[in-house]
Every structure is written in structure tokens, then in C-alpha cells.
Amino acid sequence: MWNKFDVLETIDMIEREHLDIRTITMGISLLPCISGTPEKTASNVYELVCRRAENIVHVAEQLAGEYGIPIVNKRVSVTPVSLICAPFPEKAIMIGQALDKAADNLGIDFLGGYSALVHKGTADYEKLFIESIPELLASTKRVCSSVNIGSSKSGINMDAVRQMGEIVKRTADLTKEQDGLGCAKLVIFANAVEDNPFMAGAFHGVGEAGCVINVGVSGPGVVKHALENIPHANLTEVAEMIKRTAFKITRTGQLIAKEAAKRLGAEFGIVDLSLAPTPVMGDSVAHILEEIGLECVGGHGTTAALAMLNDAVKKGGVMASSHVGGLSGAFIPVSEDIGMIHAAEKGLLNIDKLEAMTAVCSVGLDMIAIPGKTPASTISAIIADEAAIGMINNKTTAVRVIPVPGKDVGDTVEFGGLLGRAPIIPVNPTDSSKFIERGGRIPAPIHSNKN
């Protein structure tokens, strides 16, 4: 049984250290919606999503009230839309717009799954579907898109990598009035997971049940606070403290996930414990790394400290939940983390160091603003580098970069809200276009041959 210090500790975590349930995400299979015409399919999609997720906002508010913990986002993820509209890919946008309308009707924050899985090859209908992404992102508010272009098992689809560089550029261009904001809703993955509750990369995998609740829980502030109490501990003790804290945080997620699934008539999928920063002071992953002993994130030692943090978070989380999944670890979205923003502004955190960090953290190059003039081939090459890290290390990697139209190094872009702000950081100016133009497929690594 808990004692009074435990009660006060929990309340401190919630009220002062920003512990929250970052998201309740309902995964919905859209496969039953497929019909002979795009119009009928779109109306099936709208009807199914609205019916399945009808109570998600109400239940989330109810749970937040009962347990006294904020539930920040209510979201839905769906089957990759490229599969739903395979017979009519040129009309894919109708499905995306139906999803946006459903999201609006439900009052949820985001809906993910305007996605395609092309890690081994791109079918003709997928190529056409991917071409619709920029327009969809520019014409909708809540729909997020992702494309999986590589995996440890299949290698890297370099034709898709080339196409995605162009798609990112076009998305930025079509949303130039908002500084390329559309790109904040587009993630390019390697080794994408099918049960990720976090946006913009959530989609509902085809191996999942019909309706699933996945919960993302966060709390960088709680971890930082716990470490403040042991300023002279060695790194074994630091890792142990992170594990214990991650355990407590994840237990909360498990409780909410099971209860939400029960009340919403869905299956409990997974809990994803990811230290996901927000631009608010006291909610930063960078500040945890600095608490561990770095003068500034980006300095030498950052990769090692992040590797330890990411691993300890996973270990604590695994013990606390019957099903841990998603991305579980530490996120490093530059514009969403006040510590990262400061480091990038001072020029102490550059894209090369960020790339190294992605080899040991749970995702990839995330929410990084780069010069608007960056060529599509360079963006493709950045994607290829990230995918290679994911492929070789058997981990998920992702790229969410924003080539901000009309802006260059020295400028800052303000996205507002949870998306934060970002100084534009330089990319390597040399030309990678010949490499990208080759196309083809980078073969899967030798260690993928496990059968």
C-alpha cells in the first residue's frame, strides 16, 4: 500500500513536473471500408471512424478527471490509406479529406495514417498515392502522413527515397504561407512500427486487431527532477534512477490504457513510454542530458548520455506494462524541446550530431528546420542516411525536416503550440544528386538473414 509521501510524490509529478498521458490513440482498421467507388469508400471511412471513436474525447476527459492526470491528446490512427484506395489512387485525396472531416467531427487533435509502406518496392498505385500527399497536407488540418521506405529485413527502397525528397519540397512549397508547416505532418520512416500512438507517424498496421487503444505517456520533467536529487551519483546509479522513474510513469500509462480500452470497447494494444518533450520549460529531454553532466546538448558525450537514457527508459517501461510497444525511448524533436532550441540557436547542436544521436535514441531527425533552398536530392540523401542507420541497427528511424520556403540559416521559424520554434540549421552544401538519381534498392544487410 502507498503512503502519504507516495501520494505527494505523484501529485508533484503531475503538477510541477509535467507528467501527463501524452496521447490516447485509437487504432482503427479501415479494411472493411473498401468499396467499388472512391465516393462510397470515403463515406464508409467517415462513418466507421466517427462510430468507432465516437466516445474517445468523452472517455479521455472522464479518465483525466477521475485519476487527476492530464490527458493531452486524443488521436486516431488508421490503416495505411494507400491500401484502402489501391483501385483508385488518383482519388486518394477524397479518403484523406473524409478522415479530416471525421477528425473535426470527433474533436480529436490528429489523425494519422495517410501512409504508404513501400520499404521493398513501390507499386504503381502507391506511387500515385504518394504524389497526393503534399496537396492533402496543404488542404487538411488534422491528417498526418507517413511513408516507410526501408527496413532491416528488406533494405532501402531508393526510388521511394528519391520521390520522398521531392514530396517534402512540394509539401513545404504548398504550405509556404505557414513556413512549410505541412512538413511537420509528414514522416519518412525506416522500420516503422505498426502500433505507434505518437504523431505524425502513427498508423494502424495491417497485423493489428480491428480497434485498438494505444497510449503514449511522457514525462521528461519527472526524470530530470529525479536526477536533480542525485547530483553526485555515478552513471550506474543514474541509469537505475531513470529506470525506476520510467517504471512509475509507465504504470500510469498502463492503468489509463486498460481502462480506456475497456470503456471504448476496444482492445488494449500497447503502452509507449516515450520521453516526448514540449516547448514548455521543465519538459525537455535536452535538459535531462544536461542534468546528467553535459554543459550543453550537442557537446561531446551527448550520444553516450542519450544512449543510456533511452535504454534505461525502455528497461523501466518494459517491467511496468504487460505490452510495451510503439517507439518507447527518448524523442529529440528539435523545435519542440526548449533545451534543443537553445543549443541549436547557439550553434552547438548541428545536424551531424543529431544524426549520431538518432543511432541511439528512439526515432530520428525530427522537427528540424533547414534552409528552403535545400535541393530535393539533399533531402533524399538525409533520408537515406537515416534509413541506413535504422536498417543496420534494427531500429526505427525517421526524418521530419522542414525546408522552410524563403528562409535560410540565421532565420528562425515559429510553428506555435506544441510544434514550437526552430532556428534554421545548415545542411552540408555538397551535391548528392548523382547518388540519389541512381535509384534501385540498397540490399538488406547480412544480419537480416536470420531464417
Binding site: 500500500m1 502507498w2 502519504k4 507516495d6 501520494v7 505527494l8 510524490e9 505523484t10 501529485i11 476527459e61 472522464q62 479518465l63 483525466a64 478527471g65 477521475e66 485519476y67 487527476g68 492526470i69 512509475k248 504504470r251 500510469t252 498502463q254 492503468l255
Partner: protein
């Protein structure tokens, strides 16, 4: 079903009377109270039985919060399960 009520803020007269009176009126039975005062800072933790309440738990939690505001204290009512989840294995 049990919940935990925590009352924190600057110490003053009549806090326990005010809070327990309100809870009784709502059909809440107080099972245990622990109270400390640290440098004029008042912290009370009550374990209560909420089986007899007439509203949803989240509504009662909201009412507690409002009562807190009206008497200048912070009052939270939370389902006991969150503390069990976090602090017991």
C-alpha cells in the same frame, strides 16, 4: 471504490471541518486521515469511500477543485488506482 483526497495550501482554521462537511454531503465516507503541517504549509491526505456518490467521479473531482478555489486551498480527489499503479508492484 476508494479515492484519495489531498488538500494542500497555507494553514488556517476550519479546513478539515469544511472539507469533511462537503464530502459527507456528497455521500463520501472518510476512512482515514493523515495530516501534517510543514512551515505553515498544510497537507492533508484522506482515504475515502466513494461508493455512495450520486455523480460521476470526475464530476465530484471537479467540485472538490472548485471548493478548494473558494477556500483558497488546493483540493484534489483522485481514484486510488493511480497511486496503487505507481507505488505498488
Amino acid at each position: 471504490m476508494r479515492a484519495v483526497v489531498t488538500v494542500t495550501g497555507k494553514d488556517k482554521k476550519g479546513i478539515i471541518a469544511e472539507v469533511s462537511g462537503f464530502l459527507a454531503q456528497k455521500g463520501v465516507n472518510v476512512e482515514d486521515i493523515s495530516q501534517t503541517i510543514l512551515q505553515e504549509y498544510f497537507a492533508m491526505i484522506m482515504l475515502v469511500d466513494v461508493s455512495g456518490i450520486k455523480t460521476e467521479l470526475s464530476v465530484l473531482a471537479k467540485e472538490c477543485e472548485e471548493l478548494g478555489k473558494s477556500i483558497g486551498m488546493s483540493i484534489r480527489l483522485q481514484h486510488e488506482a493511480i497511486f496503487n499503479a505507481m507505488h505498488t508492484i
